[in-house]
Amino acid sequence: MVNYFWIFMCVSGIIYAFFNGTVDQVNIAIFESAKESVSICIGLISVLVFWLGIMKVAEDSGLLEKISKIFFPLIHVIFPEVPKKHPALGYILSNMIANMFGLGNAATPLGIKAMEELNDLNKGSDSPSRSMTTFIALNTAGLTILPTTVIVIRMNNHAQNPTEIIGFVFIATVISTILTLILDRYLHNINAKKMRR
């Protein structure tokens, strides 16, 4: 599916540009986007090194396991396939917390690490496991307590009350998180039934 989606965006864009007279813009966009993506990855190096370093300390000292143990009953409901004491739990948990408090640059490294741990559990399969799908779903539904980016641009535009959106965003993301988890579980059950037949 990603394959077709990717080809579709490139091919349809180039054909449309031909008729729309925007081939010049497309030329610029190709190299600008490529450049931008590399600089995003270079920018990721600093936060990845820092957060994976700190988290490794937490893992080696046993802190991560301790925290995962406390929240295990909750995480187990959402991720039934991840065994107790597995480091993935700690990374999933810390990624969720970073997301909730709008710590974008911590959330990405922790999320990547969580995916790696979940991938270890997936035993070399070439398609995502149930836990991976659930994890991505949780991430994009994005339960948010503190939407930092938007608060900052509201401040820059002289809002009387920049933090007024907090309540709305929290409730909206609680709703989207719950419904997304329900859809995820529903699709999983359909697939599981198909497999059994």
Partner: protein
């Protein structure tokens, strides 16, 4: 609200402090662990590059050709019928594809209509309640070298859609100025 901003300032130093104090208590060689963990980060960042270049170039072509705008104009009336003001529709549609483009749009709307207007409030909540889904998918799956995504795209986009609709409805019904 003061309390919340205090949390966000103290969050990161607090996490580091707790981690290191715990490491001292457990006699962990913290610096060695940090360096070992950090090394992994370099490799991961580099391995994501081809995935992100591929995806972002495709999005770049799609946007620069004008096809994305044409697409938005095509579906915008549909969203307007759900009660979403036409100014906010482009944010909702672009947000999953490009975080920067959406941020620019939200900023423009806040500038034109003011952050305390209905449109300003909607733009803010819609922006904060959705995510740059394609970036997340590309980076997370890229890091583990997985090329198939299965149902994940569908579920992730559904999450965005629900977040956007919920944000708009909440502002319409519960925000009064």
């Amino acid at each position: 609200m003061e309390f919340l901003s205090l949390i966000s300032t103290w969050m990161i130093p607090g996490i580091i402090l707790i981690t290191l104090i715990y490491a001292i208590m457990k006699k962990t060689l913290a610096y060695e662990s940090f360096v070992i963990g950090g090394k992994e980060g370099i490799q991961i960042a580099v391995s994501i590059i081809p995935y992100l270049v591929g995806m972002m170039v495709a999005i770049g072509i799609f946007r620069a050709s004008g096809l994305m705008d044409a697409f938005i104009n095509l579906v915008a009336p549909l969203f307007q019928q759900l009660g979403i003001p036409k100014e906010v529709v482009p944010i909702a549609l672009i947000r999953p594809i490009s975080g920067n483009a959406a941020l620019g749009m939200t900023n423009d709307l806040l500038k034109i209509y003011g952050p305390d207007s209905l449109i300003g409030m909607m733009a803010s909540t819609v922006h904060a309640s959705s995510d740059t889904t394609f970036y997340v998918l590309t980076v997370y799956f890229g890091a583990i070298g997985m090329k198939k995504m299965g149902n994940t795209i569908k579920i992730a986009l559904f999450g965005d859609l629900v977040g956007i609709i919920a944000a708009i409805l909440l502002v319409i019904f519960f925000w009064n100025k």
